[in-house]
């Protein structure tokens, strides 16, 4: 009988936390797979419009990003509230778009230089004047594949 030592009553066993790391690791891996690293911090407001007929940008390394929107609040005192272009980590003027595209294109491997897409991440409240200026610049440097990056959703929501 001595083999089965009687448990002291009233002593709750400690909850095992051994599986906690597993759970956290699962979460970690989830986030690692579905997200990507921020490559540039946004200086502009960037609420994209909705569209339904969208296509995925398949290959990350073939994309050049251009952000357009109103400067975020901390930059508004310096740069005003008019929509601005952001290239990499800086505000830029329309004239700099062409040289930016050429510089980015030169960084890519030779075989990709002809298949690059320019992704325009434009805030829904930006006006078309700036966009058509950018498009003119893109045409000058022969960057003709453009992607208007949007959220998936009903396009008619944009009109409200």
């Amino acid at each position: 009988m001595a083999k089965f030592a009687k448990k002291k009553d009233g002593d709750l066993p400690a909850v095992s936390t051994a599986s906690l790391p597993d759970i956290v690791f699962m979460l970690l891996f989830f986030f690692m797979t579905v997200t990507t690293m921020k490559d540039s911090s946004l200086l502009v407001q960037n609420t994209l419009p909705n569209a339904s007929e969208i296509k995925k940008l398949e290959k990350k390394d073939r994309v050049i990003y251009i952000y357009v929107g109103k400067p975020t609040r901390e930059y508004q005192s310096v740069y005003g509230t008019e929509p601005k272009i952001q290239l990499n980590d800086k505000f830029a003027s329309v004239g700099e778009v062409g040289s930016y595209i050429l510089a980015e294109r030169a960084k890519k491997p030779q075989e990709l230089q002809n298949v690059l897409t320019t992704a325009l991440k434009v805030d829904k409240n930006a006006n078309m004047g700036l966009i058509s200026d950018i498009k003119q610049e893109l045409r000058k440097v022969n960057a003709l594949k453009v992607n208007y990056t949007t959220y998936e959703g009903n396009a008619f929501n944009n009109l409200q």
Partner: protein
Amino acid sequence: MSRFRQLPEVNAGSMADIAFLLLIFFLVTASIPTDEGLHRITPPKENRTTAEIKDRNLFELNLNRTGELMVEGETTPFSELRKMVKAFIDNGGILPGNSGYCSYCAGTGDALLSENPQKAIIALRVPREADYSVYVTVQNELQGAYNELRNEVSITLYGATFEEMKEEYNKGGVVTERKEVLQRKIKKIQEMYPQKILEISTSNF
């Protein structure tokens, strides 16, 4: 009896803390990517040519700066746009036997709409003051109209939608022969319904 001595268990309690640290690091530095959007090919740098375009082959869309849409001179709600564009492109206004006859068009052959999809041109006039979101809506509807037409003709010809074929084409691990077949089909359909969109930026006041 030392063989049976139990090894002391490694304390795994801090593992959770380490994992949490990693997790928080990823939460802070990462963002869920939005890499979807409307693909567009802009025309190359202007080499100004004038071409005679019949009025019936030109579909005029005008946006104004308050975000209203005018189609061929009449104010139109955005929800009608896709249907009208489809009717315009797929009109097939040339009688059978004449050159330029569109054998796969399902339209009504209206005398005011396009002759065939190859000739149909959509002209979109956007003022500089217009909102980008409205522009995206119009682009979305145009893309939608073309997608629907292409899918319809693709199903009747090949039994698969245009998008499915494109998806298969872009997917890795497809045999080369299959890829060539797909490429030919995709090209055929793109030629059946080419996207001809003319964008004009205006400064109206």
